[in-house]
């Protein structure tokens, strides 16, 4: 069930990412929803899950972007595997630790992508720090909210239903 959810999330993320591609900061999108899903999946399913989700999401994103297929896949595979492995080593159930993990994953992803482009295009390594940091913060925020929504959303809905049901039976 959770796997299906991740797949759906991945597809939604790809669709949204292509939709909001116009939202750019300094030439780079302000948020990378696919990466958020990859990190989310890695934290949820471990290194193997992160690996698969990263590979699939990265390749699809590359295919949709129309660039060199494989660069995003490589970066997201690396990030997914490492986040999954770290998630198994440390306790990352708190929002703050997840936030840090999202930030670190975004920076690693951007650094890896820029390094691959530097190799492929035979140019120097350039990492736009401010844009990368902005994207990292946005990704972390979105990711933490997503975690909170997925984990606590059902409970909140259940309480709200229960509250609305009890109010409905009251008779004044």
């Amino acid at each position: 069930m959770k796997v299906a959810g991740v797949i759906v999330a991945l597809l939604v993320a790809l669709a949204l990412q292509s939709t909001i591609a116009g939202l750019r900061i300094g030439g780079t999108t302000a948020v990378n929803l696919v990466l958020v899903v990859v990190v989310y999946g890695a934290l949820s399913f471990g290194a193997a899950g992160g690996l698969v989700i990263g590979t699939v999401g990265g390749l699809f994103q590359d295919a949709l972007a129309g660039g060199i297929i494989g660069i995003g896949g490589f970066a997201k595979t690396l990030v997914g595997f490492l986040v999954g492995w770290l998630g198994a080593q440390f306790i990352v159930s708190q929002p703050l630790s997840r936030f840090v993990m999202f930030v670190a994953a975004t920076i690693l992803h951007e650094a890896c992508t820029q390094a691959l482009y530097a190799v492929v295009e035979s140019r120097g390594f350039r990492l736009p720090y401010s844009v990368t940091l902005t994207q990292a913060l946005v990704n972390a925020l979105v990711g933490v909210v997503a975690f909170q929504f997925v984990e606590r959303g059902p409970q909140v809905l259940a309480r709200r239903r229960a509250r609305s049901g009890s109010l409905g039976r009251r008779h004044f």
Binding site: K2, L51, I69, G73, A88, S122
Partner: protein
């Protein structure tokens, strides 16, 4: 959070899968990127790696082929080596013969030059035998009475005096007593100071002594000893040897040892002076002085 990893093999498989996926991505990227030469990176890298393999394989094949070729070549090498060794030995013998021929030609040339330079009549002769008696130092030459050779005729070489004809010559051979024979002697003088004396063979080293030279005479080591001609046998002025040691003697005469200029161990061609011996003359200075020309 769902824990998928649990056992060690699972982690290892995940690690292997991770590496494989990364390599796959790299290959995928390489297939789409052109190298500097316009060739896809994947193709360039593949070709580069495969060329290494080809090089290694070619090296192995070359080693095998060369090894087999050397083995096959070695099969005939031994026989060929034997043949070549025999040919080399034959050539070395021929080379020795040629070298000896050259040396002999040189000696004959020197002899011919001496014959043309000297004013006395001479005839060339070849040493054909030594003396079987070790006590007598003489050789046999291939000229005899038919050639005008008589007893006591002087025998010389390009370097100096060799000896004299002794005994009755045969028709085509004669015996020559060497000057270093203990029984041989020749009138001589010091070329520098003209001090006279008699050179005689001795059984010592050096094999010549200059005798009958006064203690008052000026003779030093290094002086050249030449024939004086007063003995009536040897023409005057021909080199005999070099003073090696000159000391004041216990009596009236100095003790002088002389190193001969002629190498008596390797005499092959000589000249016989065709002038019959005459009685000894008291005036050796009147004779000719061809020593410089003989040198």
């Amino acid at each position: 959070m769902i824990e998928l990893q649990g056992t060690q093999p699972l982690r290892q498989r995940t690690g292997v899968l991770f590496v494989l996926v990364l390599v796959g991505h790299l290959l995928l990227i390489s297939a789409q990127v052109q190298s500097g030469a316009g060739v896809p990176v994947l193709e360039a890298v593949t070709f580069g790696l495969f060329s290494r393999v080809q090089l290694a394989l070619a090296a192995v094949v070359d080693v095998g082929r060369n090894g087999w070729g050397n083995y096959v070549g070695l099969r005939g090498a031994r026989a060929e080596n034997e043949i070549l060794k025999r040919q080399l030995a034959d050539l070395e013998v021929r080379m020795q013969e040629q070298r000896a021929l050259v040396a002999r030609t040189g000696q004959l040339q020197q002899l011919l030059d001496l014959q043309q330079r000297t004013s006395v009549p001479t005839i060339a002769a070849e040493v054909i035998a030594g003396n079987p008696n070790p006590g007598i130092l003489s050789v046999t030459v291939n000229r005899g009475s038919r050639d005008g050779v008589t007893t006591d005729m002087a025998v010389i070489s390009p370097k100096g005096i060799v000896g004299r004809v002794v005994g009755r010559p045969a028709a085509h051979a004669a015996r020559v007593q060497l000057l270093i024979d203990p029984a041989a002697a020749a009138a001589a003088r010091i070329e520098r100071s003209r001090a006279g004396g008699m050179v005689a063979g001795v059984d010592a080293d050096p094999p010549l002594q200059l005798q009958l030279v006064s203690n008052l005479a000026d003779v030093i080591a290094g002086d050249t000893v030449v024939s004086s001609g007063t003995d009536g046998v040897y023409p005057a002025g021909f080199a005999i040897g070099t003073v090696e040691k000159s000391e004041r003697g216990p009596g009236l005469y100095r003790a002088i040892t002389v190193r001969p200029v002629v190498d008596f161990s390797s005499i092959e061609e000589v000249l016989i002076v065709l002038i019959p011996a005459r009685p000894a003359s008291p005036r050796p200075e009147s004779a000719a002085l061809p020593v410089e020309r003989a040198k």
